[in-house]
């Protein structure tokens, strides 16, 4: 069976509309699964319409590729731990990037055979290949950082920005030369240089900025698809690429805003690279020292509380404490205590990271509140439990104009009557900034592994009373 190019174009339109509805479905958790399902249908329509078109003549390699790739994809998706989601996403971004590069190269070879090369086509092809190559190696570096294969610390050296600018200019120059001349050597050099650029752009960015980087690479993967669409004169790829590109861009913007930083600052800044030496307004407060508390102290206050708010951070993910938190939540709710979770937009290693982990532990999503929803609640809350978060509750962001994180919106945990801070050690957060909340009169620190501490609370709650 074969369909006409008009029928194919109409099928692509249906597919594009399905993708739009798919994304729209994520407006609310109740409609989200249907959204994802619509996306699957959209993809199936696009693939079938392409296969039935007149351009696709041989199927052997296609079937082999879909089988191999599909199998790998299914196994990855089924096996992956929820805590490893940022790594998986980074890996998948790199695949899109590399696929875009390969499509550009393959298209060049085919069009060269057919004698259909022209400057506009090759210009578009260069754009797709460059964005794809940057997405590819940038995502590989992000994956390495998230997986701990390479240091999560920002890697900085002299003349870094100048070097990046030089590589970028040279890459574009090669692209222009390729478009003008059709030289395959220029194409290959251009792709290799763009791959180098992907590395040098991402390597200086630290672990705490990963939510922005993941969003940015998400955006790049979309632009790579859109550029491929321009090359192939395929409107579906252009539409979908634009949707994905904008999605990533908006997420990057939201993440930056939640840190009160500009995207330029994140991309070129690199947090936590130097220690903040200058004495700050908080120095006096710090001399007062800290209080440490036992698990029993915290349980004593939580049992009789009206409301307990838990503020989770990356430390919760590392300790895998979400399941114990759910158990604690149920025990407290059994005693009539209202338990809520307050999530900062940049908590964790990717946008929405905490929400997924809490959902994994079967904590109802209507118990998990965003920053703006939870902040008014702290003042009337008896106990706030900070589990593996740090910078996102640091009052220095509000009070200390000399602090590097000054101006960042925070969860106002310090306004609740009691704050218990679960901490492994006294190390500062990823920004390298000391947390003024430690030294407040109503704050106590409970040292130890977050999961063990919560488990201790659970058994104390089980033991007490009945």
């Amino acid at each position: 069976m074969q369909i006409s190019s008009n029928a194919q174009a109409l099928a692509y339109l249906v597919s594009a509309v399905l993708f739009i509805f798919s994304l729209k479905g994520l407006t609310h958790p109740a409609t989200a699964r249907r959204g994802n399902f619509l996306g699957m249908i959209g993809m199936a329509v696009a693939v079938v319409a392409t296969l039935l078109g007149s351009e696709v003549q041989s199927y052997g390699f296609i079937i082999a590729g879909v089988l191999v790739g599909g199998l790998i994809g299914v196994v990855l998706a089924m096996r992956i731990q929820m805590t490893a989601m940022p790594q998986l996403v980074a890996a998948l971004h790199s695949f899109v990037g590399l696929a875009a590069v390969l499509v550009a190269v393959g298209t060049f070879l085919n069009k060269m055979d057919a004698g259909q090369l022209n400057a506009v086509l090759m210009g578009e092809l260069s754009a797709g290949a460059i964005i794809g190559a940057i997405t590819f190696t940038g995502s590989v570096i992000a994956f390495g950082k998230l997986q701990g294969l390479i240091s999560g610390k920002p890697v900085k050296f002299a003349m870094q920005h100048q070097l990046n600018a030089a590589i970028a200019l040279l890459t574009i120059a090669l692209g222009v030369h390729f478009a003008m001349s059709g030289s395959m050597l220029s194409l290959i050099l251009m792709i290799l240089l763009a791959m180098v650029l992907g590395v040098t752009l991402i390597i200086p960015i630290g672990g705490a900025d990963m939510p922005v980087i993941i969003s940015m690479l998400n955006s790049y993967s979309g632009w790579a698809a859109a550029a491929t669409g321009f090359t192939l004169q395929n409107n579906l790829l252009i539409i979908v690429g634009a949707l994905v590109g904008f999605s990533g861009a908006i997420l990057s913007y939201i993440m930056c805003k939640a840190m009160n930083r500009s995207i330029i600052n994140v991309v070129f800044g690199g947090f936590g690279s130097e220690s903040s030496g200058a004495p700050s307004a908080g120095a006096a407060a710090m001399e007062k020292g800290i209080r440490s508390a036992s698990v029993e102290d915290a349980v004593y206050w939580m049992e009789d509380a009206n409301r307990v708010i838990v503020v989770p951070g990356y430390g919760m993910a590392v300790a895998q404490a979400q399941h114990s938190l759910k158990e604690m939540m149920e025990l407290l709710e059994g005693r009539g205590v209202e338990v809520r979770f307050g999530v900062h937009p940049v908590a964790g290693r990717m946008p929405g990271h905490m929400n997924v982990l809490l959902a994994e532990a079967d904590i109802p999503y209507d118990h998990v509140l965003e920053m703006d929803e939870i902040n008014p609640e702290f003042a009337s809350t008896d106990v706030t439990l900070v589990v593996g978060a740090n910078d996102v509750v640091n009052p220095a962001a509000k009070d200390d104009a000399s602090s590097p994180i000054y101006g960042m919106p925070i969860l106002e945990a310090g306004r609740s009557k009691q704050v218990y801070f679960l901490k492994r050690s006294m190390n500062p957060g990823y920004s390298g900034v000391d947390n003024l909340l430690f030294y407040k009169d109503n704050t106590s620190l409970i040292f130890g592994d977050a999961k063990e501490t919560i488990e201790g609370m659970v058994s104390a709650l089980k033991g007490a009373g009945h």
Partner: protein, 95 residues
């Protein structure tokens, strides 16, 4: 109007759709959003199919296309499935 210009029209208008649709996404679903857009950007598979399926294809282009199909398929299958896995976990109280 030349084809490239038409493509530009489509692109710019699609950007506006993206802008308005994405702002509606609830922050608690940002991780599934990244995973879903990831799956959707596997749409480069269409390009990969066109490269691979060409009749007069040379052997090197065919290998290139095969690799692209494989990579894009990982994205499509892995992306949609993992999104589904995540979304299945988001429940209300007393389901």
């Amino acid at each position: 109007m030349p084809d490239t210009l038409v493509a530009l029209y489509v692109f710019v208008l699609a950007c506006f759709i993206g802008y308005f649709v994405i702002w509606g996404v609830t922050p608690s679903l940002h991780t599934p959003l990244v995973a879903l857009t990831n799956a959707i950007s596997g749409i480069v598979i269409v390009g990969a199919l066109l490269v691979t399926g060409l009749e007069s294809v040379g052997s090197f282009a065919e290998i290139t296309g095969f690799l692209a199909v494989t990579l894009a398929s990982i994205n499509v299958f892995g992306g949609f499935l993992v999104t589904n896995r995540m979304l299945a976990m988001f429940r209300k109280k007393n389901k």
